[in-house]
């Protein structure tokens, strides 16, 4: 059996959170009655003309810089021609052979050094409208009685990012996307939420035998709307391709949808017309020539990038925790807690485990007070749980928790421990017979008697000591 190497490239679409659309001044973003955010331009009425959104262009340049791209001295919008009900002009204004950003590299810190993912290009285009397929026996598109079109989303600025096929595992692809998303969010140019569709990713997947230098036929994988689905989709497709090759079959170039329930990929129903987009320069728009002053200004505005921050946190937290903190959007809460004197590991453990369980916004944490709580030695678990829950409510104060520390004084606990052991000779027997698990039972008993006020660590030590004798 040969060993197979997956070859994965990603194509990501990011909806920018500008106030208005890409080529008209209708409000962009969610909300509004269907078709209430439309005008002659985004409805493609005869004679309407596009005017490019300055903010969208600056943000695309900024993202390009964050991705280590070269910013084109001259970029041009092209028309991509095809018919679809949600494409009112019969063409999408996009970029073709003269995109705004090209040839970048995005670093994903990994256990064995940095994984570098090449960025082929990042260009600006307009989003399509929403087609809702109504009726039909199965409710599936093909059987739909008719389609309803809402043009509110049509014309929203969309950045398309294309990576080189530098990824080799589904996990890497997922981690790349999570870090890319965090970068986009921290640039403040998009909320980049896959559930909302403001971040979408397709994967180009092929496999080859390890050592093979040429690429084999690749397929395009779509319809994955969470990081986990992307990972699972890629795994499923990689499996399918390996089986095909090993059974003497051939992978054919095609577009596939990942079906979550069955965890399988299925080929897309292809348009009856072969794609021939007839790109040509959009004559209604003039070229973009980003001034060097603008580029310098935007470069100056770039924050520390999440990738670098992971490496900065790593020495104290270890790579895994650093990744959780950074990709989880917990960086600034973490740094504030540490500034307030909380030891790095404690801060990161609390954020990554207890706080994250709340699913709350880390921006809401009353840092100073929560830091005090985390610094109380031997605080009881219940108290800690309460404090965590309260940490995001205003007026939260550490005061109420200072005295709720666990009993750690052995002189108080020792008699209790001895009593419990004496009262349950049977369990002691089983323990001595080698059933270490029984220890848990004794700990439980002690905690019960002390109303959870005992310090479990101390209780453990005492029990082991007594049972050992």
């Amino acid at each position: 059996m040969p060993e197979w190497e997956p070859v994965i490239g990603l194509e990501i679409h990011v909806q920018l959170k500008t106030r208005t659309k890409m080529f008209c001044r209708c409000e962009a973003g969610f909300g509004g009655e269907p078709n209430a955010r439309t005008c002659p331009v985004c409805l493609a009425h005869p004679g309407a003309l596009p005017v490019a959104n300055e903010q969208a262009i600056e943000w695309t340049v900024k993202l390009g810089l964050a991705l280590g791209c070269a910013i084109a001295p001259r970029a041009v919008f092209h028309r991509k021609n095809y018919f679809y009900p949600d494409l009112p002009k019969g063409y999408q204004i996009s970029q073709y052979d003269e995109p705004l950003c090209t040839d970048g590299r995005f670093v994903v810190p990994g256990a064995d050094g940095d994984a570098e993912v090449g960025i082929v290009r990042a260009h600006l285009e307009e989003d399509a409208a929403k087609t809702i397929h109504v009726g039909g026996a199965t409710g599936r598109i093909v059987g739909a009685a008719h389609s309803n079109v809402d043009f509110n989303r049509g014309g929203t600025p969309l950045v398309e990012i294309v990576t080189r096929p530098d990824l080799h595992t589904a996990e890497d692809a997922k981690r790349f996307l999570q870090l890319l998303r965090q970068t986009i969010v921290e640039l403040g140019i998009s909320d980049a939420e896959m559930e909302k569709g403001t971040l979408r990713a397709d994967a180009n997947v092929s496999v080859r035998e390890v050592g093979e230098t040429a690429f084999r036929t690749r397929t395009e994988l779509k319809n994955m709307n969470s990081f986990n689905h992307i990972a699972r989709g890629i795994e499923a497709e990689v499996r399918r391709q390996i089986e095909l090759w090993e059974s003497g079959g051939e992978v054919v170039q095609q577009t596939l949808d990942y079906e979550v329930k069955s965890d399988t990929v299925t080929p897309r129903r292809s348009k009856e017309e072969a794609d021939d987009y007839r790109y040509f320069p959009e004559p209604d728009l003039v070229p973009l020539e980003p001034a060097s002053e603008l580029i310098d200004r935007l470069r100056g505005e770039l924050p520390e990038l999440p990738g670098a921050r992971i490496r900065r946190f790593e020495p104290k937290l270890g790579l895994a925790s650093a990744q959780v903190i950074v990709s989880g959007g917990l960086s600034s809460a973490y740094e504030s807690l540490v500034d307030a004197g909380v030891p790095e590991r404690d801060a990161s453990n609390w954020l990554a485990n207890e706080f994250s369980a709340l699913g709350a916004d880390p921006g809401q944490i009353a840092i100073a007070e929560m830091a005090k709580v985390l610094l109380i030695p031997g605080l009881t678990r219940d108290a800690r749980r309460e404090a965590t829950a309260a940490s995001i409510s205003d007026g939260f104060s550490a005061a109420g928790f200072i005295d709720r520390v666990a009993v750690a004084d052995t002189s108080e606990l020792e008699p209790l421990v001895e009593r419990i052991l004496a009262e349950s000779p049977g369990q002691v027997e089983t323990y001595r017979a080698g059933k270490q698990g029984v220890l848990g039972y004794f700990v439980g008993q002690v905690m019960k008697e002390t109303g959870g006020q005992a310090d479990p660590k101390v209780v453990n030590e005492l029990l082991l000591q007594k049972l050992g004798s």
């Binding site: 269907p34 078709n35 209430a36 040509f280």
Partner: protein, 95 residues
């Protein structure tokens, strides 16, 4: 480079024209005549000439990201051939 009947059908597909039989025949002849005339441009060797996609050398014409009023719904649908509530109604479209 003559246009065949198949070319006519392919191009009509791309341009979404449901041409009738006699239109297909007529267009095949006319397009060939026109193409022969316009193919003249290929006589010139312009390998080192830059293309002009715009008569004026204007760049960076942009608008500030400030919302303007959209159309009232009655205007949005004023010319609509088919409407379903606040949506444009179209025959089913397969992706």
């Amino acid at each position: 480079m003559a246009i065949s009947r198949d070319d006519v059908l392919h191009v009509a597909g791309l341009g979404r024209l449901d041409l009738s039989e006699d239109e297909i025949g007529r267009l095949e002849g006319q397009l060939n005549a026109i193409l022969e005339a316009v193919s003249k441009v290929s006589e010139l060797d312009l390998s080192d000439v830059p293309p002009t996609s715009h008569p004026l050398a204007v760049v960076n014409v942009l608008a500030a990201d400030e919302p303007r009023p959209s159309l009232p719904l009655e205007d949005v649908f004023a010319n609509a051939p088919a409407r379903d509530g606040d949506h444009f109604n179209v025959p089913p479209s397969a992706t």
